[in-house]
């Protein structure tokens, strides 16, 4: 363990910048975006320096800590506000600050016509600070602060254009769904404290092997609930599609690359809990497998380019959650897929933003078509992201997703077959909807009005970040998997040596070929089906398409099962409160009032009456004393 004194700047700098921009208000309008971008870039520089410093150390000395102050000290319960930068955190720090900086640069141009650009950048910096706190906290309680902070930033940014009521509602929906997950996290922290008497990662890790299996399963399930809320996993996934109401750079940074992967971080960080409880792992793989298919199916039916990408994000995070549930061998692949996904999905979202920028903020893909001639750079960078996500070798997604499918098959037995086939099916669906998306957007004949829309390539401030992310989409997978570098790098954190030896069902090469075949079928089907695209979405479609268009009825389900009964319950409680509790209070008040009305008649203002009352009173007193003493 190495101690450091400058980890805190990673959080303090963007937090200070966010506060400054918000406090100064319009005074900072001219230079606010520049300050925010410089601050974000400087956190990236710190992150890179820390990475190389860490790389030059070896073994246990790689992890770095910094104690900030005694936060809570009650009896034997002590929590320090302390930061921990280890092999897992540094991956996230580099992803958050690196992609974050690129998106800051992109936003300078993308938001240049918005009068509230400074506020936007303040929120972005707030997000960077909160997300870094989330991944740097050395205990669940420190993590929780960052966890809530990113929830706040996400809420503020989804509702950034809150003058539109639908957008404000989308922000609220995201916040509420996240609250449900947050309840899970706080319960997990409480159970962990009750079990282990500490909430630090190290303390819980030390205690986990000796805890009862019921407690571990409960903590695991609650952590999974938290992850499901933050990472838009089944059954809390419905907010992610609506979260696309936020500006596109926000969708790229928060709702694709970083914040939504916090659930994967949480589970990977809590690997000691999940390693010790096979029940918890089972919950995790079920949620992951269901979500990866769920998201992929929704993705096939969406005409809104951002919502299709959001469904894809949901599905890809499903892959990561699935990988984390597969035991110690899966964590490294989950993180690897998380990082490659951070590159290609952020790049594609920025590409979608670039298309919207050129098309008067149109998002309906049925009104795109043939845009590759007008936005060549966007089309190329988007194309790299596309090849990466569907898993074509040698692009990034091939290395990471293939490993997950392989690990799923290797889980052994019926479980291995079911999970593996789900993952394969997901890969085919991914290929289908991504091909559909790219065909509808960039190929075919133009379906937009030449009078109203004049598609044009975005300025360099926008396409340079896209190009850098495209390079990442090409190269990162190979870098991370070359010689198992990612697996070795993360080994001290996730202990893959504890792996239970699962029987290898298929050789890796067979899995890869199978996956490629499925992907090929998906692409071919999309190419055939979308040779011509009607401008209006066809009405006469199968019931499955209709259900998929409505997010597989998740909103309808939530409304019927949770929201309506919830409203009824609330109305009942309000009625009970009004008639019983308030009724009692009002009865007391009424009785006192009525009595006073009667008694006040004595107070008639005549001094002689008062004198008489006094006299009678004195006589009564004297009589009483006399009778008592007699």
């Amino acid at each position: 363990m190495t101690t450091s004194t400058h980890l805190v700047y990673l959080i303090a700098l963007p937090l200070f910048s966010a506060a400054l921009l918000l406090v100064l208000g319009r005074l900072a309008d001219k230079w606010g975006h520049l300050l925010a971008t410089v601050v974000s870039a400087s956190t990236f520089v710190i992150g890179v320096t820390e990475f190389f410093a860490m790389h030059s150390r070896s073994g246990a000395a790689r992890a770095t800590t910094q104690k900030l102050f005694d936060w809570i000290s009650v009896g034997t319960f002590k929590v320090d506000a302390a930061l921990l930068l280890d092999q897992l955190s540094i991956c996230f720090v580099l992803l958050i600050t690196g992609v974050g900086t690129l998106i800051h640069i992109y936003s300078i141009a993308y938001m240049s016509h918005d009068r509230d650009r400074r506020r936007f950048f303040a929120y972005l910096n707030l997000f960077i600070a909160a997300m870094l706190l989330l991944v740097l906290g050395n205990s669940y309680l420190n993590l929780y602060v960052g966890w809530e902070g990113v929830g706040l930033a996400s809420y503020l940014l989804i509702g950034f254009w809150n003058q539109k009521p639908a957008y404000a509602t989308a922000a609220k929906k995201a916040f509420v769904a996240n609250r449900v997950g947050d309840v899970g996290l706080s319960l997990a922290i409480m159970i962990a404290f009750a079990q282990f008497g500490t909430v630090s990662f190290a303390g819980v890790a030390a205690g986990a092997p000796h805890a009862s299996s019921a407690a571990l399963a409960a903590i695991g399930a609650m952590l999974l609930l938290a992850a499901a809320g933050k990472s838009a996993q089944f059954p809390l996934q419905s907010w992610l599609g609506d979260a696309m109401a936020g500006p596109t750079p926000v969708s790229a940074l928060i709702h694709a690359a970083t914040m939504v992967t916090a659930g994967v971080y949480l589970i990977t960080r809590s690997n000691f809990i999940f390693d010790a409880s096979s029940t918890a792992r089972l919950f995790v793989v079920i949620v992951g497998a269901v979500t990866l298919l769920f998201g992929a199916i929704i993705g096939t039916a969406k005409d809104d380019i951002k919502k299709a990408l959001a469904a894809s994000t949901m599905s890809q995070i499903g892959y990561m959650i699935l990988a984390t549930g597969l035991g110690p061998v899966g964590y490294a692949f989950a993180i690897m897929h998380l990082l490659t996904h951070g590159f290609f999905k952020a790049g594609m979202f920025l590409g979608a933003g670039s298309v919207m920028h050129g098309m008067n903020d149109e998002v309906n893909m049925r009104r795109f078509g043939g845009l590759n001639r007008f936005l060549p750079i966007t089309a190329i960078t988007f194309g790299f992201g596309y090849l990466a996500i569907i898993g074509v070798p040698p692009f990034a997604g091939f290395y990471s997703k293939d490993k997950i499918i392989e690990t799923a098959f290797n889980a052994g037995g019926a479980k291995g077959y079911i999970l593996g086939i789900c993952a394969l099916l997901g890969a085919g669906l991914t290929a289908f909807y991504m091909t559909r998306l790219i065909v509808m957007t960039f190929w075919g004949s133009p379906r937009w009005s030449r009078d109203e829309q004049h598609p044009h390539e975005s300025p360099a401030l926008m396409w340079v970040p896209m190009a850098i992310l495209a390079v990442g989409s090409v190269a990162s997978g190979f870098l991370f998997s070359f010689g198992g570098s990612m697996v070795h790098w993360l080994a001290p954190v996730v202990n893959p040596t504890n792996a239970e030896g699962g029987a290898e069902l298929m050789k890796p090469i067979v899995v890869s070929l199978l996956a490629l075949a499925v992907v090929g079928v998906g692409i071919a089907y999309a190419l055939v089906k979308y040779r011509t695209v009607p401008v209006e979405a066809p009405e006469k479609v199968s019931v499955f398409t209709r259900i998929a268009r409505r997010d597989l009825m998740q909103d309808a389900f939530n409304e019927a099962v949770l929201m309506r009964p919830g409203q009824k319950l609330t109305a009942g409680l309000v009625w009970a409160d009004y008639s019983f509790v308030d009724g009692l209070v009002r009865a007391v008040g009424f009785t006192l009032g009525a009595t006073s009305q009667g008694v006040r008649k004595i107070q008639n203002g005549y001094a002689r009456t008062y004198a008489l009352v006094m006299l009678v009173g004195v006589l009564a007193l004297v009589a009483t004393i006399w009778m008592v003493t007699l």
Partner: protein, 99 residues
């Protein structure tokens, strides 16, 4: 003469004063009745002093006289002021307290 006759006189005087306070309307008369009650009390104090053979009661009666003298000064001033502003010394006319 039986010394308890002084106490009977004191009771009679006090009763006259108390009834007067309650039934009379003129502020001057009401005030005089109050003074009558004070002096009835003084008489009782002095009588008890005599019965007990010490000076405690007489000391108390001196205090009562001082208080009564002060009350005369203050009360007459109030009554005169009320009379000046309302052209009436009836206590029933000064019934603003109920508002």
């Amino acid at each position: 003469m039986d010394i308890s006759n002084y106490l009977y006189l004191s009771i009679i005087l006090f009763t006259i004063g108390a009834v007067g306070v309650v039934i009379r309307r003129n502020a001057i008369v009401v005030f005089m009745c109050v003074e009558l009650m004070l002096n009835a009390a003084n008489l009782a104090f002095v009588t008890f002093s005599r019965i007990n053979g010490n000076l405690d009661g007489q000391v108390a009666s001196f205090f009562t006289m001082v208080v009564a003298a002060c009350a005369v000064g203050v009360c007459l001033a109030i009554i005169v002021t009320i009379y000046r502003s309302r052209r009436s010394a009836s206590v029933d006319d000064a019934s603003l307290l109920k508002r």
